[in-house]
Each structure stands twice: as structure tokens, then as C-alpha cells.
Amino acid sequence: MEETINRLVKIFLETMSGVGATLSVAMDKLVKIFPAMMSGVGVTLSVAVVALVIGLIFGLILALGRLSKNWVLDKLSFIYIFIFRGTPLMLQLFFIYYALPSISLSFGYQLSLDKLPAAFIAFSLNSAAYLAEIIRAGIQSIDKGQMEASKALGMSYSQAMRKVIIPQSYRRLIPPVGNEFIMLLKDTALVSTIALFDLMRVVSNQVNSSASTFLFLPAAIMYLLLTSIFTFIFEKLEKKYSVYE
């Protein structure tokens, strides 16, 4: 009896020290790749933020085009959105990074982009198409009486848009734009396909080379942390813009 217990205790202690050793090896690995992970986070964040900012500006222009009475502007915006919403982001990324240099070469000069600028451009162009539709819907949801009241006061279309209609759409735009940004943040994992070292690429490289699959867990936590921070920021923004309601 006593011997059995002794043996069990021994097995237990050996297991524990094994777990401890594994954990400490894991910690070592994590600590070692942590700087690389942080620079990956930097790439992930920069692609998402650039795509959001440029996407919003370009998306607003596209949305105004869609709402314009000018037939050409409307159709041009429509076709742009049709193409960039209707094809996979990965294809757009590959096109800009891999295909553009050879296509431009056949026009006489070579336009080749580094990985990061290529990612910036692809993600910005893509998010502009989505944001354009979000902004258009936001502008159209503003009561028609607002444009009529602006016109009755003598405002031009652009004055009414700038001072009355668009400022009112901000609050309504924040939740869907926040949603779009969260999607962007996660979709940036696609840049690993052009060998850009974002968070996903850093981790999966390490997993491949050292067979330490557990590293996916801290990566997931890092993504969750990022999305939590931005969810919080967008909630604050929404509150700020609803003071008048």
C-alpha cells in the first residue's frame, strides 16, 4: 500500500517537472519570438489603419459619386465598387504585387512595388469599395427634410452636404465603420501570402520551423487584444457623436 502511494507520488512529481520543463521551454520560445511578434503587430496595425484612413477618404468620394446626379460619376463609382467588392482581396493583392510589374513592363516601364506599399494600396482600394457603400447608406438615411431646409435657407448642394448632411451621418457611420475596421484588422493576415511579416506570418513561420503549435494561442490573444482596443475606441466615438440625440 505504502509502496503504491510512494510510486504514485514519484510519477506525479516526475510529470510535474516534465510539465514545468515544457512550460519553461515554451516560455523561452515565446520570449524569443516576442519582439518579432510585436513588429508583426506593427505591420498588421499599419496596414489596417492606412486602409481605413485612405479607404474612408476615397470611399466618401465614391459615395458622393454614387449619389451624384451626374450619370458618368455614378457609373464610374458603381463599376469601381462592383470590381473591388466582387473579387477576392487576395487576388487584388496578388495582382498589385505580382502582376502589376509585368503588366506595366509591357507598357514600356516597370512599376514594381515593395511588399508593404503593395499591401497598403490593395487594402486601401478594397476597403474604399466597402466603405463607399456604408457611407452612401449613411448619407441616404438622413431625413430628406434636412436637405430641403438647407436649400430653403439658400445653401448650395455642397454647403448642405458639408455642413448639414455629412456631419449628421457620422454617428450612424461609426458602428458599421468600426465593424469594417475589425474585419480589416483580421483580414490583414492575408499579407502573409506575399511574405510580409505581419503577426500571422511571424507566428506561423515560428510554428513551422520549431513545431511549436502552441504559439497560435498567444497570436489569437494578440488579435483579440487589438480588436478589444478598437471596439472600445469606436464605442467612445459613438458616444461622443450622439450628444445631440
Partner: protein
């Protein structure tokens, strides 16, 4: 007497629906014209055609004897530049049934919006005049509130102040009390009466027969897109000549 509004053979259709049929209508300075009639009679469309919220289908519209709209069978004949037209249209102030205040601006910002954005009036000047107007409609203490915090009656008084801030020659009221709770109608009508007494030229589309009788200098009865009858309020209300006017007044009085 100075003619401010003049409509000549104005027709307006929405698709196949004829809303205004060959309207001839004038308003002189100092008049308070009350337009009455059943719903769908074209009253609202009539005043919306004056400031280009709607383009007419045919006919001519003049403001201060200047042509601001001219069409023949839906074809635009207007040679005047859009800038000129909108400059002339700022001489018309408009108050809407559903107020249409700008919800993201405070009361004061609403009242200053026209002068600041359209006329580029200096801020101090716009502010001083806005405060004067808010005092006139009895809402100085609400200047920093957002419209959503105000009652319907208060919102409509702000809307009147906002329109007045552009120093219009004529005020157009599109059923200004129809969206209000009954107990709030009086405060808005009071403000309108004050304006009328001060000599403001007004066109009021309304269902408030008491107001038309008391304040109106002329009553226009419309039905099915036509002006059926017009005259002094007393004549229209006590001895309507036309059978359609009689049956309308019988129904509502």
C-alpha cells in the same frame, strides 16, 4: 403696392398626377395669405414651387418681378443662372410642417446657420441678430440646447427664427402647426400673429381656420389642384360663393 410673388399659368405634375392646374396667383407686400383646402389639393406644392423645392411643369414664377422659373411642357426655358435663382430664393423664408431643424446644431447654431453659411455674415453680427430673434420667439434661455430637448412648439419657434435670420421679404408656412400637440399650437400661432402685425408678408398653408379668420388678409381656397375661390376671410367663411368651398367649410367648421 409692391408685388412679391407672381405665378402665371403654373402647372405641376408628378408623373401622371396633376397637382397644380393652371394656377395664377399673386402676393403683394404686406399681405397675409392663408391657403386652405382638403389634403391633396396642392396647397403645399404651391408654396414649394416658389423656392425651387419643386420645379414646375409649365408656366412662369416671378419673385420681385424677376423670373425664377419658366417651363413649357416640362422643358426648362429658364435662362437665369442657378446662382442668381438661389440668391433670389433666399428672399423667401420657409417653415416646414415637421420643423426640419438641424439636430446636430444647438438652437443658436441653427438660427445662425443661414447667415454664417450662406451670407458669410461676420460671427458677432450673426450672433447678435440670432439672439434678438430668439428673444422674439421667447426662447433665449434655450439657445444652447439641442433641438431634441425641445417640445414641438419650441422647435417650430426656433425654425421660424432660423428662417427670419435670413431677413426674408416673405415667409412661407407649410402647415406649421399640423405636427404639433393641440396644447402647443397656440404658442406658434402667437409668434406668427406677431410677425403679421409687424407687417411681414406671409403665405400660410393651414388648417387653422381661426388663425385664417383673425390674421389673414386674404384666404385662398384650393381643391384638386385649382384655386377655386379667394377673397377676404369674412367673405369666404361666412358667404362662400362656390359650392366646393361650402362643402369643405361645412365639413371642418
Amino acid at each position: 403696392m409692391k408685388n412679391i410673388i407672381h405665378m402665371e399659368n403654373v402647372c405641376k405634375s408628378f408623373g401622371k398626377l396633376e397637382v397644380l392646374k393652371d394656377i395664377n396667383f399673386s402676393v403683394n407686400a404686406g399681405e397675409v395669405v392663408c391657403v386652405i383646402g382638403p389634403s391633396g389639393s396642392g396647397k403645399t406644392t404651391l408654396i414649394r414651387c416658389l423656392n425651387h423645392l419643386e420645379r414646375i411643369t409649365s408656366g412662369k414664377v416671378f419673385i420681385d418681378d424677376e423670373l425664377v422659373d419658366e417651363l413649357i411642357d416640362g422643358k426648362d426655358q429658364l435662362k437665369v443662372s442657378p446662382q442668381k435663382v438661389s440668391e433670389i430664393c433666399t428672399r423667401l423664408g420657409m417653415v416646414f410642417q415637421r420643423f426640419n431643424l438641424f439636430p446636430h446644431m444647438t438652437v443658436l447654431q441653427n438660427v445662425m446657420s443661414g447667415p454664417l453659411i450662406v451670407k458669410k455674415t461676420p460671427k458677432e453680427e450673426a450672433l447678435a441678430y440670432a439672439m434678438e430673434l430668439l428673444a422674439k420667439v421667447g426662447l433665449e434661455d434655450k439657445k444652447d440646447e439641442y433641438p431634441s430637448r425641445l417640445s414641438g412648439g419650441q422647435q417650430q419657434r426656433v425654425a421660424i427664427a432660423r428662417a427670419l435670420a435670413m431677413k426674408p421679404e416673405i415667409m412661407l408656412f407649410d402647415e406649421p402647426t399640423s405636427a404639433l400637440d393641440p396644447e402647443l399650437v397656440g404658442e406658434v400661432l402667437e409668434v406668427m400673429k406677431t410677425l403679421a402685425k409687424e407687417g411681414m408678408t406671409m403665405i400660410v398653408v393651414t388648417h387653422e381656420m381661426g388663425f385664417a379668420k383673425e390674421v389673414g388678409s386674404r384666404v385662398v381656397f384650393m381643391d384638386k389642384g385649382e384655386i377655386i375661390e379667394e377673397g377676404l376671410p369674412n367673405d369666404i367663411f361666412s358667404a362662400p360663393k362656390h359650392e366646393r368651398t361650402q362643402s369643405f367649410l361645412n365639413k371642418i367648421l
